[in-house]
């Protein structure tokens, strides 16, 4: 196979689409926090575009895709030296760029759970360490042909396990270390600007086309199927969430529509290039409804997962990763496998569960240790005066809105 210009163009565009998701995520989260913390939230997200990109070029790509190890790469491609060949039908550098944007957004997902209380410098160390010790290895396992999960035969088209389960369970670990926001459960903390959240949702939805369909690494039928699957799962996710919400809480809310769409997008992520027909509708709708019901988990655990990273990303990621074991269809993508409903037996389903559980345990343990070490040394959480004043003033000496 030589270089294909159409494939190359699509992957390069997809890299830009995925990049755009991180500021989208910033707005999605930023609208949901109180106004004194909105810059703190935006900053944590866009800062990932800075630090993780640098780390990715220095060692991240090499650790994820260099060498031949099953669990981690090596430093042979450090600073992208030697990454100038061809991968499949695209320049390796296009793959480097596309995967870089995945590395950027994944740690940023955690910030929704830890909203309003992380010390900025400690956050910087946290996500740098997390990328090095958690994300780069897990990306290796799942996406590199030497990786053990890849070799086992589990499928993860665009990151159900590698990104959403990974970041979702990491969010839980960090929240366990830092504790709940001051006033959690006793004072109202409503979103300060839902229109901003809706704008962020639109950007995420848009960018997710590149996230999922770009993962075909080609401009072909699988990519087209992934675009349709992605969109349909978001649509069905919105409806699933709204129906559950309307039945249980009495109103179909704007935030619910946005959250349901994102839940559907999360769940279709591992499945996007492996399923077809009505499967994306089922996967999206199930994710929308179950992620809504999963909101109750944090209340039961008395845990301040502030913007519901666990309910949306962890639960949505698990739903997508496991349902792929049922709905995968080689009629859609002969590079995949058949799930239980398509004559493949339980083999893929078992592999999917093993992949999900492995990422979950590894990420939880390592993230907890990282967070604990930072907390003991430099302190991970702001002091109570800084928290009450808001991250905008205390961490960045800025205000989002002038009176």
């Amino acid at each position: 196979m030589g270089l294909d210009t159409g494939d190359t163009a699509w992957v390069l565009i997809s890299a830009a689409l995925v990049l755009f998701m991180t500021p989208g995520l910033a707005l999605f989260y930023g609208g949901m926090v109180r106004s004194k913390h909105v810059l703190g939230m935006l900053m944590q997200n866009i800062f990932a575009m800075g630090i993780i990109s640098v780390l990715w070029s220095a060692v991240g790509y090499s650790l994820a895709f260099g060498g031949s190890g099953r669990f981690i790469g090596d430093f042979s491609l450090a600073f992208l030296n030697g990454a100038d060949g061809i991968t499949g039908t695209i320049p390796t550098m296009a793959f480097v760029a596309f995967q870089m944007m995945f590395a950027v957004i994944t740690p940023a997902l955690i910030t929704g759970a830890t909203a309003d209380r992380l010390k900025f410098a400690s956050y910087a160390v946290l996500i740098a360490a997390w990328a090095l010790l958690v994300y780069f290895p897990v990306a290796r396992w799942v996406w590199n042909s030497n990786g053990w999960i890849f070799q086992m035969g589990a499928l993860d088209f665009a990151g159900g396990a590698a990104i959403h389960i990974n970041a979702g369970i990491a969010a839980l670990a960090v929240v366990l270390v830092i504790g709940n926001r001051i006033g959690h459960g006793s004072e109202p903390m409503p979103p300060h600007n839902l229109p901003t959240t809706i704008l962020g949702t639109g950007i995420l939805w848009f960018g997710w086309m590149g996230f999922n369909a770009g993962s075909a690494l080609a401009a072909n039928g699988v990519a087209a199927q992934a675009v349709v699957n992605t969109h349909l799962a978001a649509a069905a996710g919105m409806l699933g969430w709204l129906i559950a919400e309307r039945k249980q809480a009495g109103h179909a809310t704007t935030l619910g529509a946005a959250s349901g769409a994102v839940a559907g997008l999360v769940a279709i992520t591992p499945c996007a290039g492996f399923v077809g027909g009505a499967s994306p509708l089922i996967i999206g709708a199930v994710a929308g409804a179950l992620c809504y019901l999963a909101l109750g988990i944090k209340a039961r655990l008395k845990l301040d997962d502030s913007l519901d990273v666990i309910a949306v990303h962890l639960v949505g990621g698990i739903i997508g990763t496991v349902l792929l074991g049922l709905f995968a269809d080689t009629g859609v993508n002969d590079g995949g496998a058949d799930g239980l409903f398509y004559g493949g037996g339980v083999e893929l389903l078992v592999d999917q569960v093993i992949a999900a559980v492995s990422v979950l345990i590894y990420s939880f343990v390592v993230t907890y240790v990282i967070a604990k070490v930072i907390d003991r040394t430099m302190g991970l959480r702001v002091d109570s005066n800084d928290e009450r004043a808001g991250l905008d003033q205390s961490q960045h000496s800025e205000s989002a809105y002038q009176a």
């Binding site: 109202p188 409503p190 809480a249 619910g256 959250s259 809504y292 909101l295």
Partner: protein
């Protein structure tokens, strides 16, 4: 001279302003405020969590008027701001000792 202060529903502000202009009032100050009385607050739901919003948005209107016009102003505000539902607000009148127009230095009725 009297200071008339009215706390009204925000969407009634323009109607009240027009009615007051129609009876010859030449100026007033409006401030966005929050408060609660018998109306109490309301609940909002975000991702299944209910929040009680105690303070509801209101507009506070302040205007200084001549003694002779006080009753007409109060009655006009009362009739224009009314929706006959709970939460229409209140009007109260207080004495004003002195009033100065900053630009000209005029005092008393001339400064209104």
């Amino acid at each position: 001279m009297r200071l008339v202060t009215a706390v009204i529903k925000p969407f009634k502000l323009d109607e009240v302003k027009d009615a007051l202009k129609a009876i010859g009032v030449t100026g007033m100050t409006a401030t966005e405020v929050r408060g609660f009385g018998r109306q109490g607050g309301h609940t909002e739901t975000y991702r299944g969590a209910e929040y009680k919003i105690d303070f509801v948005p209101k507009v506070r209107l302040e205007l200084v008027v001549d003694d002779a016009q006080v009753d007409e102003v109060v009655d006009t505000i009362a009739s224009t701001a009314a929706t006959d539902k709970i939460g229409d607000g209140k009007i109260w009148v207080t004495a004003v000792d002195r009033i100065v127009r900053i630009r000209t230095g005029e005092e008393g009725s001339a400064a209104i």
